[in-house]
Symmetry: C2
Subunit: 456 residues, 2 copies
Amino acid sequence: MQHLLPHLEANKDKYLQELIDLLKIPSVSANPQFAADVRKAGEFTAAKLKEAGADKVELCETSGYPIVYGEKIIDPSLPTVLVYGHYDVQPADPIELWTSPPFEPVVKDGNIYARGSADDKGQFYMHVKAFELMMQHQALPCNVKFMIEGEEEVGSENLETFVKANTERLKCDVVLISDTAIIANDVPSITVGLRGLAYLQVEVTGPNRDLHSGIYGGAVANPINILCEMIASLHDKNRQITIPGFYDDVTDVSEAERNMMNSAPFDINDYKKHLDIAEVLGEKGYTTIERTSIRPTLDVNGIWGGYTGEGAKTVLPSKAFAKISMRLVPNQDNKKISKLFEAHFKSIAPPYVTVKVEDMHGGEAAVTPTDSIAYQAASKAMQTTFGKEPLPMRSGGSIPIVTMFERVLNTKSVLMGFGLDSDAIHSPNEHYGLYNFYKGIETIPYFFKYFAALSK
Amino acid sequence: MQHLLPHLEANKDKYLQELIDLLKIPSVSANPQFAADVRKAGEFTAAKLKEAGADKVELCETSGYPIVYGEKIIDPSLPTVLVYGHYDVQPADPIELWTSPPFEPVVKDGNIYARGSADDKGQFYMHVKAFELMMQHQALPCNVKFMIEGEEEVGSENLETFVKANTERLKCDVVLISDTAIIANDVPSITVGLRGLAYLQVEVTGPNRDLHSGIYGGAVANPINILCEMIASLHDKNRQITIPGFYDDVTDVSEAERNMMNSAPFDINDYKKHLDIAEVLGEKGYTTIERTSIRPTLDVNGIWGGYTGEGAKTVLPSKAFAKISMRLVPNQDNKKISKLFEAHFKSIAPPYVTVKVEDMHGGEAAVTPTDSIAYQAASKAMQTTFGKEPLPMRSGGSIPIVTMFERVLNTKSVLMGFGLDSDAIHSPNEHYGLYNFYKGIETIPYFFKYFAALSK
C-alpha cells in the first residue's frame, strides 16, 4: 500500500476541504430542530461514497434518520469488511464555551475544530477516502461494505431493526469501526473493551405547582433538595454505587490484565494538571485507568429545576429533573441495570415526593479478542504506519452497537480509532488532529491488505 | 367612610380596567431585557397618582429603577401615613405552565390572572384608588405620602440610599404596606412578623471543561454529583440546618404565642390536598404553621448543570450551579447568615472541586407590635369591613424593607395585606381575587380614619 502514499499526500487539502463541508452540516440527532441537517449529512455521505466508487449506494429509510449503505464486491470468494460509522453529532451546548462556532470548522495548531470532527465525521470519513484511494489505484484487496448511521448519539434506535432485516446484505467477516482513541500520537493503541451504558432521566415532583419559598419553605418538601439527597445517596463513602445488585454481574479482571493496564504510559499529575483539578475521585481500590475502563460508574449528566435565570427568584419549585447515566462493564446487562436503577430510585423516594424514571437508552459492554485475524490485521497495520506495535486498551466509552453486531450478524468488531482522549468529544471545542486524520487514511488500506492476507 | 361605598361600587369596572392596563406591562426587574417595561410601569404609577390628586409626583431616579413619589399634605399638624408598594414583578418562568399568558390579564372565576396581580400591583393600586376616592369626596382625614419602588423583587437595592437621602421628605407616623395575605376571605388577619432572607448563588467547578462521561466518568469528580452531596448535607435527619452557628441568634417563641398560632384555622389535610402531596416535611418538633413562620429554613430555588436539553448527552460537566436561599427569623442577621453559609459551603467542598459563593441579596426579619395605634387602626378597619376582628399572624415571607424603615425612618410599619396564600405569587397562574381588590379599596379609608382618630 506504500504506493498510495504520494496520492494521499497530493490530495490532503482536497480531503480536508471535503471534511470541512461535512462538518458544516449541524447534524445534531438529539434535537429535532436539526432534522433537515441530519438528513443532509446522510445525503452528503451517500454522494461521497458513490464518488469514491461504491456500488448500490442507498439512503435506507428507518423510523428515524436514514442509514447510508454502499458496497464494493470485487470477488465473493474474498473476505468482506463492513465499515461502520455515524454521520450524526452530539449537541454543541454549551455553545458559549466554544472559541469558534461549532459548525464553522477552523483549522488551528494542526487540529480541525468543529462538533463531530473527531466523533465521528472525521473518523468515518477517513474510510471513505481510504476506499477511494484503493479504488483509484486498483489496490482494494477484499470486499467492502459501508453502513453509516445517523442516530448513534441518540442510542442507535433504529439500527438493530435495520441490521436484522438486512443480515444477508450486511454479511461480512469483520466490522471495522473508527470511533475510539489511541493513547497518544506516539503510543498507538487498539480498543479491546468498551463499557456499556444505561441512561435514564428522573423527574421528582413535590407540590403540584411552583410555590413561594417564603410562604411554604420549611413545611413542604422541595423537590430539588430531595433530588440532591437521592443523588447523593447513590454513592457510598468508597464511591461505590449503592443500587442493590448493581455489582452482581461484574466480573473481576485478572491481576495480570490489571498490571498490564497500569503499565501503560500514564502520569496522574499530567492528568490532573490537564483538567485543572487538585484531586481525582473514584472507586476505592482502583487506579484512574481502572476506574475508567474495567469498573462501572454513575454520573449525573444534567440537572435542572426551579429558577435558573439571572437574579434571584424565591421559588419552591414543583419539579426537579436529572439525567443520570451508568457506564457498565462486560457481563452487566444494561436493561437489567436500568431496571435496578429505576426500582432503587423509586424505593428511596420519600413520601413527600413522587418520582418518574424514564429509560432513555442503553447498550451492553463489549470485549474484543486480541487473537483474532482482524485484531492482528489492525495491529500490523498500525505497526506499519506508526512504527510501533499498538497496545490493546480498554476504553471507558460505550459503543453499544458492537455487541449488537456480534449478536445479530455473528461478527466481531475491530475498534481501530485514531482520535485522542483530549479531542474534547461531547465537549466545547471538539477537535481532531490533521495528523490523525491523514494517519487514519494511510493506515486503513494496510488493514485491508493484512486482513485479506491473514484470511487466506 | 360609609359614604364612599356607592362611589366604589360605581367605579369597580373602571378600577379593574386600570389595573389590567398596569398588569399588561411586563415589569420584570430581575431580567434586563424588560428594563424599558419596568420604567413604563413606574411612569404609569406616577401618572395615576397625579390623576388621583397627589402633589409633587416625581419619578425619583436611582442607580436602578426609579422610585415613584407623591404626597398630599392637608395639614402639617395631622398625622402622616407613608404608603409603600412596588410596581415591579417576579419573572414569569416557567411560562409554559401558565394557562393564560402572564402579561395578558384574564378575569376568571372572580380572580384576575396575571403576573403581579397579587404581588404587588393589585395590592398597591388599591391604595391609589382608595386615595382617589377620599380625595374626590373630601374624605382624606390625614396626610399621605406614596413611595412605590421598582426593585422589590431584586432586593430593593437602591431603596435604602433613597430613603436615607430623603428622610425629611419621607417623614411619617406609620408606613402602611399591602404586600401580604390574610388567612382566608372570612378569616381576616394582619401580618405581625416576617422572615428575613439570605439568598446566595453557588458555583461548583470540577474539571476545566466539559468531559465525555465515558472516558472520564468514575475517575474525575462530577460537579453535579458533588453539588448534590453538598446540598444534601445542609440538612440533618431532623431537617435542621447544619451550618454551624445558624441557630445561634434564633430567639425562641413563647409557648403562649405558639399556642395562639396553632389555634388559627388550619387543616393539614386540606393543605396537603391543595398541594397534591402525601406528606409534609419540615423541622422536627414544629407544626407546619410554625415551620413557615417562626423557624428559619433553607431551600434550593434553582439548580442547573450539564446537559438539560432533549435526549441524552453523556457529558461530565465542568460546572454545576444552584441558587439557595434561607428564610430567617427575628434576631438573625442576614449578612451574618450569608457569611456563615459561605464559610460553611466552602469548608465542605471536597478537594476535587472549587467553589464560588455569591451573596445575591438579603433582608432582616421583622416583628411588628400589636399594641401600637397603627396596628389598632388596621385592626378596627378590617373589623369594620370584614365584620370580624383580624388575627395577628406571623408570615413566612420576607419584606426586608420593613426593618430598614424602622432603622432609617424610625417608623414602624403595618402590614395590612389583602392577598391569599393560594394566590400563587412567584408561581405560574398568579391571581388576585376581585373580592380582595375591592375589599382593600373599601378598608383602606377606614384605616386612615381610625389612624387619624387614634392619633389625637
